[in-house]
Amino acid sequence: MKSLSETHVTGESIFIDDIPAMKGELFVNYVGSPVSAGRLKKIDFKEVLKIPGVVGVFTAKDVHHNLWGTIVKDQPVLVEDEIGYIDEPICVIAAESREVLEKARKLVKFTIEEKKPVLSLAEAIEKKQFLHSPLPFRCGDVDAAFKKAPHRLQGKFEIGGQEHFYLESQASIVYPEDKSHLKVISSSQHPTETQHLVAEAVGLPFHQVVCEVKRMGGGFGGKESQAAPFAAMAALAANKFKRPARIVLSKDDDMKVTGKRHPFINYYDVAFDDNGKILGLKVKLFADGGAYTDLSPSIVDRAMFHVDGSYFVENALIEAWVCKTNSHSNTAFRGFGGPQGNLTMENIIEEISQYLKKDAAYIRQLNCYQKSDRNQTPYGQVVENNLLPELFDNILKSSDYKKRRIEIETFNKKARGQVKGLALTGCKFGISFTARFLNQGNALVNIHRDGTVQVSTGATEMGQGVNTKIQIIVSRAFGIPLENVQVMTTSTEKNANTSPTAASSGSDINGAAAQAACDKILKRLKQVAHFHFSGKTLKLEEEIEVSDFSNEQFSEIKFAGGLVTYKNQSMSWLELINKTYMNRISISDYGHIKTTGLAFDRVKGFGKAFKYFTSGVAVSEVLIDTYTGDMKILRSDILMDLGRSIDRGIDLGQVTGGFIQGVGWLTSEKLYYNSKGSLVSHSPTTYKIPNIQDMPRDFRFDLLENDLNKDHNILGSKAVGEPPLLLGASVFMAIKNGLSYLANKSKNGTQKIVKLNTPATSEEILMELTKYEL
């Protein structure tokens, strides 16, 4: 983000609500349901319309096409009849000022026939209330493996949800333009979906709506599907009153109304030998989808794809369900089900180690995917270019694991009121959208007469640095300075039918598309350069002609340092650009790419689901206060394989940021709902994301740089957005490891396996400690 962050630090970067309101602009917001379930009988907004400054109220009747959803169109923009969850938008108010709008929102009255809601995932499982039941993954012979195995463990593991807590809440401004045209400015990871949803909501063909995204103040998946309905609400007002309309959610409203990371309840049954080698695995994953489908089927798929973690499982049965509850519709969140799958496996290994009284790190190493054998996932994909064995070896050394384990054992023997824990966990994250059609991208590259370049893609910038990476890719392609390349606002006008910036794929797909556009231009530039260097002259009626040669033919023509060179001749970039233009040859182009080689059969649950994997490992050490359950991270070491990094600074920022977000999910970020189903922890006062004091006291991270991915991805890099979040698990497992030193003294005298659900708050830890004899 370095080159683009200068305006961030000066406050000059413009976010949605920083755009000055136009004269006559309307302020829009929704009014949500006061109950979690019921039938909406009547909406009374007479009092609202009496307030001076209220311009209009919209209900489901006013929405042209009310049902939306990326996978299944089952969620209403505004409730028509059946209420799905508390705070669900029922009507929309447009007013002339923020103050009037806030006043008006309190005056809408609803008549609702209340029903008994299903508020817990456990209840939904029991009632078999499923939104989606995917086909299972199977490999090997599970029954035979269990029969032969000397050891077996079964258990249940509850994983909590997580609020995105992007700092910029959902926001959008819609400007009516000529006739019925609408321009939507949105804080969205998916401008194309926002464009489509807005068009459908107001009843316009897609070509009448443009969606633009300059940047987001954080996204993390929360603005993949769920930014669109809010833009649609503003569009209702803009379209009807032909005035600009703005919706900006408060943090409290945003946290209550939008979906979160899926909570899971997982059941597992694992068979293993005396050394801890896993012989067979059966898991059932139950995800809380909330009231509507949203992206849940894909999320649960990804949980299934990641339940193997970094470990080879020869015989497995992996089953999953998306459950329906009366809560906000849960959605994409960095990792997209992957973290919940991975965590389940890491938890299983931690428990195996406690059962066998062996150090979990070595059990992990023993089970880790290998290079030439033991390298096929339960869904049949071979893990290629696998560096996991090196990652495990290297981090055990660099973190001084062995020595610290001994020190911790000594400490725990002596300490009173304190206990330390240490754990190593891994991640192997599949890169590609599992919906194949999404693995495509397009880009537009325009070179201007002064030699500067504008590039537009479908990627949206949310802090992950995708714009900087694209800038680097284009500047390297043309051999021109970074500052001569400008990445433009993402707009559906320039790049249509784009995929969401998600699945860590933003730079892979859009960077490759930008490269493809550059290559097409380069092909022409090289022919012009070749003509120039040949010293040929043209007759008056002649121009340079270009044809469809391959780039290889002119591979000796190099673009670097603002110069174009061929053998011992050279010309400036600027001269070449102008020569090309003057010969009426285009210096702009459009690139389109797709990810090749994907071949996954969802029915059989078998095949190549991912282009490649991004892997990493982490070792964390924690200190627990056994009086209070307080936990401190003393040290974390992270090592990741990101291939050849396009920008090390950006990638390391993703590593530290993702890791800490994962730690927050598993330790302090507790979603607390009251008995009516209403979220009580809806602001940072009660919902605790990590703050600066929660960083590991000693924080070390590094990359295992290599060129193994150079034939698989742009510039040999690897996607980085989501994988490091999974490594937050090392902290959770270190807590379990620490408590295991005390569980030895459990009340009935037997070795007890530490049982913790997530998040492992002080309360969760302290209540577990009450089961032991301290």
Partner: protein, 488 residues
């Protein structure tokens, strides 16, 4: 003396005189919606995320006749409290086209990702730089974290931000104090704040008296007037629609209320003393409380919020009240023509209910200076260690004569409508020899004495267990760390 109908302040280079209803806006809205200074962001609107951080210097708190810039949360700062102040926003940090060293370091060290929290972090970090230069202190990792406790970032994991702070070369910094120094401006503000502000418009009343005497007269005339000092609680209530202004009086301009004094055996903390000032004072007098204040709130809140404000907010999970209770503090309350002292034990009547009358104002806290051999301990447990409201707090003080406990104080917060003093246990302890068993045994009795409730910060079972464990921890800590031996 004539009164003013406006408040006067500077934002960056520009002079502002604000009249009427605008004085009741919060600063962040004033900046963003009235002045198009949108670099300052708002996320939580309750002073808990720091995105709205700006730097504020008041003419009431000069250092050698220079302004001292400190970070504050603009989202909960009413404009009326800016009278006599200079604000520097993120837009005011660049000098011509040069980035401020903090801004430059944040760019160079990848301290910014999405950019939404960035202006707030930059301003908070400038607060660190200003103090470091003025107090001739190095920027260390520990000080960096303490100065940035009030800022949340969801992207970076903080490491690049810490690195940004550590990379700043203080020798190359021109402080805001120097850069924005203008003797004429200071004189102008000084003269202005000597005149009372009284604004009455459309049923709203805004008062900024310059003397305590005048404040008491106003309170007598309009007993329902809301009194604010740092306004850190009121700002939240206004933003969340839980409070609407009618009459408000700020103690901002009462010079006599800014200074901590030692009077006989007491430390007197008047109503305008900020938590930052108090914390600094505590370093010498009550190190245990100083440690607590370190994790209690963000610099932004402590730079605005006051000790008295925290007291009268009367939260059962307040982090200062247990300390005041075990210290036997007294509360000074005044009305026009009268003054009384209330023992803190008698000060809280119920949940957020105080033993003061409508015409009275809390003007100071009197804290006895501890004499003789004492052991004091304060504990706070919360979901997150720093900047989080406690699930439970405990404070204990034991006054010893030889090994005998002469006087005992024990309080718990988060277990009832007010901070609870456990006199039953205190009585049991008094007159006995101090042993670990004596203290630990008290935990057995606790379930009969307190009955906490379940809420977002913890279940009742957990809270009770915490209280019991804190007593054990207290016993273990004072014995294992040889606190007792050292005290004797």
């Amino acid at each position: 003396m004539k009164t003013r109908q406006s408040v006067l302040f500077y934002i960056n280079e520009k002079r502002y005189e604000v009249f009427g209803k605008q004085t009741l806006m919060n600063l962040s809205d004033f900046l963003r919606y009235e002045q198009s200074l949108t670099g300052t962001k708002v996320v939580c609107a309750e002073g808990d995320c720091g995105a709205c951080t700006v730097l504020k210097a008041s003419v009431h708190e000069l250092n050698r006749n220079r302004l001292v810039f400190k970070s504050v949360n603009s989202c909960i700062m009413p404009v009326l409290n800016l009278d006599g102040c200079q604000i520097v926003t993120v837009e005011g940090l660049k000098k011509d086209s040069d980035l401020h060293p903090v801004q430059k370091s944040m760019v160079d060290n990848f301290g910014s990702q999405c950019g939404f929290c960035t202006p707030g972090f930059v301003c908070a970090m400038v607060g660190l730089v200003e103090d470091s230069v003025l107090q001739k202190k190095e920027i260390t990792e520990k000080r960096t974290k303490n100065y940035l406790t009030g800022n949340l970032c969801r992207c970076t994991g903080y490491d690049p931000i810490v690195k940004s702070a550590l990379a700043i070369d203080l020798k190359k910094v021109e402080t805001l104090q120097e850069r924005y120094h203008d003797a004429k401006k200071i004189t102008e503000l000084k003269i202005a704040v000597q005149k009372d502000v009284e604004i009455q418009i459309e049923g709203l009343k805004v008062f900024l008296p310059t003397t305590l005497k005048r404040a008491l007269e106003i309170q007598k005339k309009f007993p329902s007037t809301k009194i604010v000092a740092g306004a850190t609680d009121l700002g939240v209530m206004v933003n969340k629609g839980r409070f609407q202004y009618e009459a408000v009086m700020s103690l901002q301009n009462i010079d006599e209320m800014f200074e901590i004094k030692k009077v006989k055996d007491f430390i007197v903390v008047p109503s305008r003393v900020t938590l930052t000032q108090f914390q600094k004072y505590l370093e010498k007098e009550f190190p245990e409380m100083e440690r607590m204040l370190n994790i209690f709130a963000s610099p932004q809140i402590k730079n605005s919020g006051t000790m008295v404000g925290n007291l009268v907010n009367a939260s059962p999970i307040s982090d200062t009240i247990p300390f005041l209770m075990v210290s036997d503090a007294q509360i000074e309350v005044r009305k026009a023509g009268g003054k009384r002292l209330i023992a803190i034990d008698d000060f809280f009547l119920g949940y957020k209910k105080l033993a003061i009358k409508p015409q009275e104002i809390v003007t100071a806290i009197h804290i006895p200076i501890s004499k003789g051999k004492q052991i004091s301990k304060l504990y706070k447990v919360s979901v997150r260690k720093d900047l989080d409201i406690s699930a439970v707090t405990m404070a204990a003080r034991l006054k010893l004569k030889g090994r005998k406990i002469e006087e005992a104080r024990l309080t718990f917060g988060g277990v009832g409508p007010t901070v609870a003093r456990l006199k039953t246990i205190e009585k049991k302890w008094e007159g006995k020899d101090l042993t670990a068993e004596l203290i630990r045994d008290a935990s057995i009795e606790l379930p009969q004495l307190i009955s906490p409730l379940s809420d977002v910060r913890g279940s009742k079972e957990y809270r009770l267990l915490l209280c019991q464990n804190l007593i054990k921890k207290f016993a273990d800590e004072i014995f294992s760390a040889n606190v007792v031996e050292a005290t004797l």
